[in-house]
Amino acid sequence: MPENSGTIPDTPLFDRAGSIRGYRLNKMAMALGQAENRDAFKADEDAYLTRFGLNNEEKAAVKSRDWHEMVRLGGNLFFILKIAAVDPTPITQIGAAQAGMSHEDFLYERLGKKRHG
């Protein structure tokens, strides 16, 4: 979804346009809620993505775990998080990719996480 789809800067709302654009990508990710689909994804990612009709641009974004690009293509975090579950990635790392920050800077500067010890 475009970053300018709403009136609040840098804050895309998942509206009609995003929902339509990301439909296949999100449907593919949603299906990873089932164990057999996770197995299929792990066994042959390309074949799995083809099964859901993803185009080359979408496939490339998924295969490179480019979270920023997946969102740009209409991916909604709640769905694409299931890719992060198959291939463990902390949500804060996905957040950092959205914000264009290093993971470390994102945790301590953006989120205000406290340093322990």
Binding site: L13, A29, I94, H116
Partner: protein
């Protein structure tokens, strides 16, 4: 009639459940968060409710974008925890307050709401995590649940005013129910967070703290706010806070703020809770 014994507001961040699953409760990142909930758990132990009404949103687990109900109500006998991609979680299934749920559905439709009525559906962290925060990890949940799903994922999401009106009908349904059950209402979601866009990681601690006091003492401004105001103040996913309004509207105009807790960040979220009781 059944009786409202408390209104609770709480975050439902999935990482909370994951932290419990991984035994991270007492780690430096999580301990201050969980410690703050102890008062809420204690309150719940003493309150001994029979039914928990849980207002939450699905996060792309039980509903896909092929059909997006603005409001849905569960009338099932039992609700299994859904596999969100990490595999099944070690928590028991939830027994449904099916008879009371149907009564609520009847009352909603009489009052011109049009809910999706769900006979067979699984529940995600939006319901699981609040239950774990207030009831711990029992072998069996000590209450039956009435789940209410609110769409906060795909726009248009419902207006704050509409959530408020649903809370009024919820109260009517509780008070017109012939049983003598003790009912707690859990409004869940928030507090401020944003998962998408360059503003991802946005947390507004000042707005969150104002919310925890304001939802108790003076909710009127929050009912009047637009959805865009919520997104601006609390982040795109922080707009989930509209679901607390269902709970608040079901309570008396005057409530006592019994417990309050705030912690940030919990994962990527400003997180916290309130425990409210109706004032005499």
């Amino acid at each position: 009639m059944a009786r409202i014994i408390g209104g609770l507001g709480t975050s439902h961040v999935p990482s909370i459940g994951a932290a419990l699953d991984k035994g991270l409760r007492d780690t430096p990142d999580w301990k201050p968060f969980f410690d703050g909930y102890e008062a809420g758990k204690q309150w719940m132990r003493e309150a001994k409710p029979d039914i928990a009404v849980v207002i939450f949103n699905d996060h792309g687990n039980s509903f896909f974008l092929d059909r997006v109900p603005t409001f849905a109500v569960g009338v099932a006998e039992t609700y299994q925890p859904v596999d969100e991609g990490w595999g099944p979680r070690p928590i028991p299934a939830f027994d449904g307050a099916a008879d009371f749920s149907w009564h609520f559905v009847d009352r909603l439709v009489e009052r011109h709401f049009d809910p999706l009525v769900c006979r067979e559906i699984e529940v995600d962290h939006g319901l699981q995590v609040p239950m774990e925060l207030f009831f711990g990890r029992p072998e069996r949940w000590p209450v039956k649940v009435l789940p209410i799903w609110v769409n906060t994922i795909q726009y248009p999401i419902p207006t704050p005013q509409r959530c408020w009106e649903m809370g009024k009908v919820l109260r009517e349904a509780i008070e017109s129910w012939p049983g003598d059950e003790r009912v707690v209402i859990l409004g869940t979601g928030g507090l401020s967070h944003q998962l998408q866009g360059a503003r991802a990681g946005f947390i507004n601690q000042a707005a969150d703290r104002a919310w925890l006091d304001g939802i108790a003492a003076n909710p009127e401004p929050y009912r009047a706010m637009s959805r865009e105001d919520y997104v601006e103040q609390f982040g795109s996913e922080g707009a989930e806070l509209i679901m607390w309004l269902v709970m608040r509207a079901a309570m008396n105009e005057q409530v006592n703020l019994i417990h309050k807790h705030y912690h940030a960040p919990a994962s990527m979220t400003g997180a916290g809770m309130v425990v409210l009781e109706n004032a005499a």
